[in-house]
Symmetry: C2
Amino acid sequence: MRLNEKLGERKIIEIIQNRLDMMPKMPIPFGDDVSAYDIGNGNIAVLKTDMLVDKTDVPRGMSLWQAARKAVVMNVSDFAAKGVKPKVVLVSLGLPRKLTEKDIEEIGEGLNAGAREYDAYIIGGDTNEASNLVISISLFGTAKKNTLMLRSGAKPDDLVAVTGVFGKTAAGLKILVEGLETPKKIGKILVDSVLMPHARLKEGLVLSQTKAVSASIDSSDGLAWSLHEIAKASNVGFLINSLPTAKEVRRFARINELDPLELTLYGGEEYELVLTIKPKFWEKVEKAVERVGGKLLPIGKVTAEKQVLLEIDGKRSLIEPRGWEHFKNIKV
Amino acid sequence: MRLNEKLGERKIIEIIQNRLDMMPKMPIPFGDDVSAYDIGNGNIAVLKTDMLVDKTDVPRGMSLWQAARKAVVMNVSDFAAKGVKPKVVLVSLGLPRKLTEKDIEEIGEGLNAGAREYDAYIIGGDTNEASNLVISISLFGTAKKNTLMLRSGAKPDDLVAVTGVFGKTAAGLKILVEGLETPKKIGKILVDSVLMPHARLKEGLVLSQTKAVSASIDSSDGLAWSLHEIAKASNVGFLINSLPTAKEVRRFARINELDPLELTLYGGEEYELVLTIKPKFWEKVEKAVERVGGKLLPIGKVTAEKQVLLEIDGKRSLIEPRGWEHFKNIKV
């Protein structure tokens, strides 16, 4: 049985997890966006590692500087989703022989840019030879255990919100990879969303302070997948009644005869936060996010019934548990 | 200018470091075996990342289980050299498509074995598709800042010691990769040193407690290179008068007409500790290491003169600053 036929990323993770001895009293369970270790006095060390590989994570048109920066940003996004500030970054590089000194400089500058944008520092790492460009990033930070926003706390009737609009990266990738066309100005916005992603760290930090967020995840595997992940971890369902489609995506979809719903729900590589919020605190939370320059878009509510549903014009349909997944769904 | 012609691992690291903003008050400088972040009250978070790539780090004859275990052990060795206990491990995998479900199981079991041998747990990670098998490991632990054994504290007249004999991995690789021959029993010892490396964690932890170690490094880049690294970081030199060659290496060298000195000094992928020790504490330190089942072999002393010299039968020669280095010196 080969990976590309039968196994996907999630199956592989399951196989490996089943072979691991579990640490007693893990502060954060396997499968959440970050990992943690109890360092006493209610504090935890928060850790995250995620690898960027050129062949699956770097589309045509993305420079080495952008790829290196993205490798950091995609890890910061997971910290943002938990409400934890990353303090330091470690980098492990696999470098193809064909890279030049200038290429290496670009990678170094991109890594630094990604870390400094979020006020973190790169403090160590190593380099290796590899056939692919591989940028493996590790983040470290500390947090009060009781301020962490996990995937598992959503309750029926909580409100569902996101920190921004969706679909731009799915559209941007279609421009970069498949060569689809669109007016220049819109095209630039869509492509930039892929090349220059931003993590919602300010929003995540202020959200965790409100103590009103019952569950949180980043949307790097797509909006649909993120909803299903919270549903699974919290043992709930969703009724989504307002799709947060970017206006540029609507226009792009119209021009190219694509389904904007598909681009909105089943993309990936976008780094908004998907949150559930206790209803009585909604206004307080909304204001807190606005104070740091962000916004909160309500998209639906949590349900006791364990289905993830979309309701448009009174018509309900299932939101499928699919999205961007490495191996099964190569996009470049 | 291409990597394989002009750049080596150390040059690449230098290029990248020059592009990074430095964190103020780093508890451990760039270039030591591990990185650290001050978490207050005299405590530091200790972090390490190192990547194993099949094409340079996995010789013929090494199973996936062994490769995965080694990826963890080589990181633990750096913690050992600093006297820090690793608490948790994160794993980022790049997996070629050709791997089967059984291969993945082997990798999971090898990772777990490597962590549990040193009483650590794997608590998170991610998987990706890559052309090479890439196993990027991150370790986390905490330590009292003042017990850390850095590379930079060696003083003239300190004694130099190692935690075991050298040359077995260099010889073992010649058997595995070049097909050199040797009697079966010796061959197994030499090959096992490559396939099943062990980190000197017990020794490192007890050594840091003695407070008598002025500098420490692991020997993963070879004995000669390790001495030069301490010499550079501490601004001293060495006079080595007793080469710690394994007896199996002497025999292997005789049979294959090789220079045992070359195998002892300029190998790599071996995980002994190379230490400098304040002379008046020698006996105390030696006993402390013996109490945990280890041993300490004196091999020379630190000198004010900044050369790394070998003295055999009254004849002095320079120990060169070379050893195993990725890119420039591919061994498989």
